[in-house]
């Protein structure tokens, strides 16, 4: 039992349960399974993005360009769809993944080969990718009536009682879980964050691994680009402006240490859910949405304060189970 309570995810889950309970006292329908399904679907994109950001943060890097990547890829896909409605959706998703991958690889290359700190690289590409969206689109919007019905309806289609968007999120979560817990690259990502120097001696190519995590976060940004645009059915330069910080906030609430090495797939998902529940609940319990920023800000600060003790035990995470035994 004691070991069980050590896991941050359990506390997060409890926090979310309390949050849902509190909201239910004001709006009884909130804890309804149908509504919770809706909340999950609404939060899917943030969860996917948080997972992409998580692998970057685990390696002691940061990707500030994710929201701009999302905006650029979304615009490219939307324009392709508007110009050639015949292109099937799976091909468009593949294109989105590829464009995102290229943008992520640019970040990764600069971090890997030129050794520029990731915060500087992605600060630069954050503005470049968003500017590039303007150049590509000429400042024009792609509206709902220019998109094909397939483009818009694909992620809304119900499959086994859940929309496709939710299924995509579930698949991404499962993939990340497998990669982070069952593969060598997942272990390398953790190890680099815990101790980069020791990782080098252990035979891990730190630079190349960082390149890979930026490619991953780029692909995630691209995937989220298609999902975002087809969900909100408008593509403009303003899409997801400033959203990079929401993504990082989800990671922080999820207990992912900004100093690297500590964090889990479950944490990132729950952190995103926490923010998603807040933004979903405010309107239905009659609190002005203007409160949203202040509430999520307080939640972030609270989460960091609560996490502070855990962060001091840096470098123990991989060995935690062995130690307990």
């Amino acid at each position: 039992m004691k070991n069980f309570l050590k896991y941050r995810e359990i506390w997060l889950l409890a926090g979310i349960a309390v949050l849902i309970g509190l909201i239910s006292t004001r709006f009884p329908g909130f804890a309804d399974p149908a509504n919770l399904r809706q909340v999950f679907n609404d939060t899917s994109i943030l969860m996917i993005l948080a997972l992409g950001q998580m692998v970057v943060i685990l390696t002691r890097s940061i990707d500030l360009s994710m929201a701009s990547n999302l905006c650029f890829t979304g615009m490219v896909v939307a324009m392709l769809n508007a110009a050639h409605p015949a292109i099937p959706i799976p091909v468009l998703i593949a294109i989105a993944l590829f464009v995102g991958l290229v943008l992520g690889a640019i970040n990764g290359f600069l971090v890997w080969r030129l050794n520029i700190p990731s915060i500087v690289v992605t600060l630069g590409t954050l503005t470049i990718y968003r500017g590039a969206t303007f150049v590509v689109s000429g400042g024009a919007w792609v509206n709902a009536d220019q998109m094909s019905p397939d483009f818009i309806n694909f992620q809304r289609a119900a499959f086994l009682g859940l929309p496709v968007l939710s299924w995509i999120a579930i698949i991404v979560i499962a993939l990340f879980f497998l990669v982070m817990t069952r593969t060598q690259i997942g272990r390398s990502i953790h190890a680099i964050g815990v101790n980069p120097t020791a990782s080098v001696y252990a035979g891990i190519d730190v630079g190349r691994t960082k390149f890979i995590v930026f490619c991953i976060s780029g692909m995630i940004g691209g995937l989220a680009g298609y999902l975002w645009i087809s969900r909100y059915v408008i593509a403009s330069v303003e899409v997801a402006n400033g959203y990079e910080l929401n993504i990082i906030a989800a990671c922080v609430i999820g207990g992912i240490s900004i100093a690297g090495g500590i964090g889990s797939v479950g944490g990132a998902v729950l952190g995103a859910l926490f923010l998603g529940i807040i933004s979903n609940a405010l309107p239905v319990i009659n609190i002005s949405p203007f409160w949203q920023m202040a509430i999520s800000g307080s939640a972030i600060i609270l989460a960091v304060v609560l996490n502070a003790r855990g962060e001091r035990r840096q470098g123990r995470i991989i060995l935690r189970k062995a130690e307990a035994a």
Partner: protein, 333 residues
């Protein structure tokens, strides 16, 4: 990033981060500034007009003031992402005071004090609780701007007194604006503090090795707290200038300023990992960013496209010395 002990070599000189033996960072920035200036004056006949040059300065003075304090903070190994939110909150408070009929001196005092208070709040969280500043200030960023949103809703505060307009719109001598004068004076003060006092020396030392500093008797926590207060204070001052220049307060005021201020600092040669940088570099970087945005504006380039140039400039200028050194050593990539 802050708080992350990076294994890195001891710099040959404390204040020269990425420079190769061939050129200093500041010299490179001067060359870039002159180039952009020349291109601008050829590209547009309106550029060399004194009034237009004076307008140019409004493009960077407010962010530049924040960047000066941010430079010290980043040199010490911390960062503040909440500066733009502090500007918004201070401006909102000034707006509230105006509604109850406050005069210009009270408004300025409110702006400065709110900024200082927000900075102290950041500083307390970071130093007292030992939290990473990048996360704390992402949180306070949402918190400060959230409070501004709660107070303002979707309305705007207007009706600032006429004497208040001087700070953002006034001129101290012919075309020489009050904002530019304030920026230059502040730059001098920060230059002196960073490069000529023991306080500044400690800031560099903390950025290079906080643990060693602690053991040599430097009060690391207190100095970091002061630096957060200074950043908040400068944000408060910037808030007074922006509010006065725009004559109104909206919740979206100063959106994105934090990233622009950090871009100035990094472009100015301050190492984002802490421990290295100079005020001269930051001032030059501020000028360059003002020149780029203003020049492109004269050429009718939309604001969003200018950001491509700023982003490219940032990456290229940072990458240049590294590529140069590798080429010289014949081992690129």
């Amino acid at each position: 990033m802050s708080d992350t002990p990076h294994p890195r070599r001891i710099p040959d000189r404390l204040d020269k981060p990425l420079s190769s033996a061939i050129f200093s960072w500041e010299a490179l920035l001067v060359v870039i500034a002159v180039l952009i200036f020349a291109v601008n004056s050829f590209a547009s006949p309106y550029f060399l007009d004194p009034w237009s040059l004076s307008d140019l300065t409004f493009n960077f003075t407010e962010k530049g003031l924040i960047a000066l304090a941010m430079a010290l903070l980043i040199i010490s190994g911390e960062i503040d992402l909440s500066v733009a939110a502090i500007v918004a909150l201070a401006s909102t408070m000034m707006g509230m005071a105006v509604q109850s009929g406050a005069g210009t001196p009270v408004l300025v005092a409110i702006g400065v004090v709110v900024g200082l208070g927000c900075g102290a709040f950041n500083g307390l969280l970071v130093t007292r609780l030992g939290l990473p500043s990048i996360v704390v200030t992402i949180g306070t960023m949402s918190l400060f701007r959230g409070i501004a949103f709660i107070i303002l809703g979707d309305q705007a505060y207007k009706g600032y007194p006429e004497s208040f307009a001087f700070f953002g719109q006034g001129y101290v001598w012919w075309v020489f604006s009050f904002e530019l004068a304030l920026f230059l004076v502040a730059a001098l003060i920060y230059w002196f503090v960073l490069h000529r006092t023991s306080f500044g020396r400690k800031v560099f030392a903390i950025g290079n090795n906080p643990v060693a500093c602690q053991f040599s008797g430097v009060r690391v926590g207190r100095i970091k707290f002061i630096l957060f207060c200074l950043t908040g204070l400068m944000s408060g001052i910037a808030s007074v200038l922006i509010t006065s220049r725009l004559g109104s307060t909206r919740p979206s005021i100063a959106q994105g300023y934090e990233l622009e201020a950090i871009t100035m600092v990094v472009l100015g040669g301050v190492s984002i990992l802490g421990g290295a940088g100079s005020i001269l570099g930051v001032v030059l970087a501020a000028f360059i960013m003002g020149l780029v945005t203003f020049g492109l504006g004269l050429l009718n380039v939309p604001g969003i496209v200018m950001s491509i140039f700023i982003g490219l400039l940032l990456i290229i200028v940072i990458a240049l010395p590294i590529v140069w050194r590798r080429l010289r050593e014949g081992r690129f990539a």
